[in-house]
Amino acid sequence: MSERVNEKKNLPANGSKRTGTKAATPASPVAAAKAEAVLPALGPMGMLRWAWTQLTSMRTALFLLLLLAVAAVPGSLFPQRPANPANVTQYIKDNPDYGKILDALQLYDVYSSVWFSAIYILLFISLIGCVVPRAIAHYKAMRSQPPRTPARLSRLPEYGTLVIPADAGIPASSAISDAAGLLKKRGYRVDVRDADGARPSLGAERGYLREVGNLVFHTSLIGVLVSVAIGGLFGYSGQRILVEGDTFVNTLVGYDQFSPGTNFQSSQLQPYSVQLDKFQITFDRESQGKVGQPIDFKADVTTKESPDAPAQKEVLKVNDPLTLGGTSMYLTGNGYAPVVTIRDGAGNVALQGPVVAKLQGDNYYSSVVIKVPDAKPDQLGFQGFFLPTALVTDQGVSYSGDPELFNPRLTLNSFYGDLGLDSGAPQNVFEMDIKKLTPLNARNLDVGGISLAPGTSYTLPDGKGSISFDGVKRYIGVDIHHNPGQLYALIFALLAVAGLVTSLYVNRRRVWVRTGTHEDGRTMVEYGLLARGEDHRLAGESAAIRKLLAGAWKLDDGSQSAPSGTADNGRADATLPGNPTADFIPSSAGSSESKKDQ
């Protein structure tokens, strides 16, 4: 596309890429016209092209953006499967009338739903369709000269004139080269036209980075999306509970729970190990109303990069993950694990070790389930609570009065029978199905429940065995994540911000200067400025350029004292009698009228 066409079509629109679809690009008038057209009676190719033009129009982009915002909302209103599948099941149960309908509409999987994906994929296609032509156009613009000098500079939003006295000895040609020099120093790309003619002029432009910034910003958004996709394909995550003394080895069996990405291969796992040596919690003893709240968690661990690597002491804290073998390990939970020894009816030790107690209420009030499948002749099961500081209300209800181990108590009911573990179906370790079991100890039985302090033991009725409470350890829950897309997402996000700031704060401006010699020998200078896109400092730039020019020619610029740089200023000069030509320095009537006739 020739420079001339570009100039002609774009200029009257006041340098606005805001005029339409892609009005900034040379090709745009056509595109804009097309966007305006009603559905044309075209062949399939025509239809396709029409659809493409629609999709890549600014209006569509805006519509899709707003639609994306609206579509994201339901995900915060309804429970989401990826975050918590159990909540979704519960929700559907609680709302039998419409729970299923919502599910059919994918409202529990909003962010992977067909409709949400459709919106953002369309948005990104639209984005690519917009970015690519714009990038090509801008590449050309960056390599071409500033546009031709408009015939009437006075139509530009910023306009002014200067008059160099005849005795200064600065002819029109040297005035234009002075102006060119000054503008070059100010960072403009300058092109002088007709330097030795009667009315030499120059066109200058700066701020090409603005468009570059805009392109970088939009392209980086695509980059972020791709990075997220890579993370989903090649990443993995898993969970593990570690009691003090336990060691986690990064192999599939090391995880309690594991969710691989679509393209995960188990060979990706590096067999590093992490041993939990000690876990400490600091509880708040100061804040009003918050006493007993944990204020610091600290896990001392020993790590090995590989089975034969040297051991290293490290600390794992909340907000301060461990990084090992391309993964990060996060401290996400904790609690108490009472250590018990259980003997079966035959007198053998059927279970010995810490039992992870699940947090249920305030002050580490936790539930305990112990399954003893190895007990003989009958399998044993225990169910109850662990209280770090056991207290009893007047009504006889026990509660935990403090999170520290001031008065630890293990209160249990016991059962015997078939635990149902042999069927092979996976069971939740924190739950026990007691329907097929026979109670041994319970509050409502004559023998009562079991209540143990550390160091004490209890013999089960009917010679079924015994249980002893040996002590208490702490455990932590850790999440392990590997996301190869993460670093790229960060890089693209940073690029996006850099592009955004550039495109918002670099101003793209054009300046034209034209000079001529008056009949009486004075050198007449007029200049005009135009911004492309938002630019609230154009008037300031105009004033600054005026000052520079006046300084270079040692003009006592009278209008300087008035708020200079505004168009009115210059136009006052323009009424000088005997202008060289009417269109060079137009009549004063030009100002507001010409604005409208564009």
Binding site: R18, L65, P157, Q293, I295, F297, N319, A539
Partner: protein
């Protein structure tokens, strides 16, 4: 972890009350300014109308909107269509000479020559209130031994301070005193809500919040929100003003006399665009830093947690706003609506989402 100092905490609460009291007086002064100035302006208008006679219908427009006749012309051209739109001045033109102009901010919102005594009193009182408020925020920080934004009470008290401080800072460069009643009024509401509904004694942070990202992420969020607050008020006024301008242009009666003090709709739109652009960059950082923090704390940088969803929604709405400014037929009133919707999302994110939506961000301290 620094120990808690309850005495400081009590001082802080006292300062907050004093600040709210001072703001209340400032609020009254701002309201008085609006009433008084609009009366003066009307008197000037009437006089001008008597003098010029024929042109009477036109003068109030120019005077009321407090901008140059040129700006009004351009604003009208703006309504005219795409061609006019392209001409929307982004660098406001020169000052006008319309009657009564000396009293109001011009289209560029530079200070005018005339002194408005009530407005000056109001600003002085706001500065005093902000100083006391700052003392309140600082003593809270000392009392808790950390940055004072760890629960709803602290978000509100610190947020109100930042809103007022940003307003005062902008006042140094631009005459936005017509927003005084709004900003100071909002600060009072926030302080009262903090003390009545969200009062929380000084305390330590839960481990999840003990991170330098709290300082970075939340401070930028609060700062951006303060800027969004300003643009919200300006966009709302823009809608009212544009309605008023149209009514007057169509020869209707000017029922909203107090709006004389407020610049014209186009000026409001241009300045709020500039502030929104800054705030949008701030919000982009909020989102990004939030994601980085989420990665540090939970192991994933994005998980569509409720708070994340709403932060994203706000970001997209304001991105839509920036696009609207570049889309034919979406500037002016529609853009103003987007700016308002964006702010409503900010408020929703802060109030409803923090309290009633459960997610990982359960730090509201309630």
């Amino acid at each position: 972890m620094l120990p808690i100092n309850e005495t400081m905490g009590q001082y802080s609460e006292l300062f907050m009350l004093l600040a709210a009291g001072t703001y209340t007086v400032a609020f009254i002064a701002f309201a008085w300014d609006l009433a008084k100035s609009s009366k003066t302006l009307r008197a000037v208008d009437l006089k001008a109308a008597e003098l010029s006679g024929a042109d009477a219908a036109r003068v109030p427009v120019a005077a009321g909107v407090g901008a140059s006749a040129g700006a009004v012309d351009r604003a009208e051209a703006d309504v005219a269509g795409p061609a006019g739109r392209a001409e929307r001045p982004t660098s406001a033109g020169g000052a006008g000479n319309a009657a009564g102009i000396g009293l109001t901010a011009d289209g560029d919102m530079r200070y005018a020559a005339e002194r408005r005594v009530p407005a000056r009193v109001a600003v002085a009182l706001t500065v005093l209130g902000a100083a006391i408020h700052a003392a309140g925020v600082i003593t809270r920080a000392i009392g808790a031994g950390r940055v004072p934004w760890g629960n709803m009470y602290e978000f509100l008290t610190t947020g109100a301070f930042v809103a007022v401080a940003v307003f005062l800072l902008v006042l140094v460069r631009r005459d936005l005193r017509f927003l005084g009643t709004f900003v100071v009024g909002l600060a009072i509401v926030m302080l009262v809500a903090a003390s009545v509904a969200y009062w929380t004694p000084v305390g330590h942070l839960v481990p999840a919040l003990q991170s330098y990202w709290l300082i970075i992420h939340v401070s930028i969020a609060v700062l951006s929100s303060a800027l969004f607050t300003l643009t919200f008020a300006m966009s709302a006024l823009q809608l009212v003003q544009s309605h008023r301008q149209k009514t007057i242009a169509a020869g209707g009666a000017d029922k909203l006399g107090f709006m004389r003090l407020v610049p014209n709709a186009l000026s409001l739109e241009n300045l709020s665009y500039r502030i929104n652009a800054i705030a949008f960059v701030g919000w982009t950082f909020t989102l990004m830093f939030g994601a980085i923090w989420a990665e540090k704390a939970w192991g994933r940088f994005w998980g569509w947690d409720t708070k994340e969803v709403w932060t994203f929604v706000i970001w997209v709405v304001y991105a839509g706003y920036l696009h609207a400014r570049a889309t034919r037929g979406w500037t002016g009133t529609r853009a103003a609506w987007l700016s308002i919707v964006g702010y409503l999302c900010v408020v929703f994110n802060f109030t409803i989402v923090n309290q009633f939506f459960n997610g990982l961000h359960s730090y509201s301290g309630l």
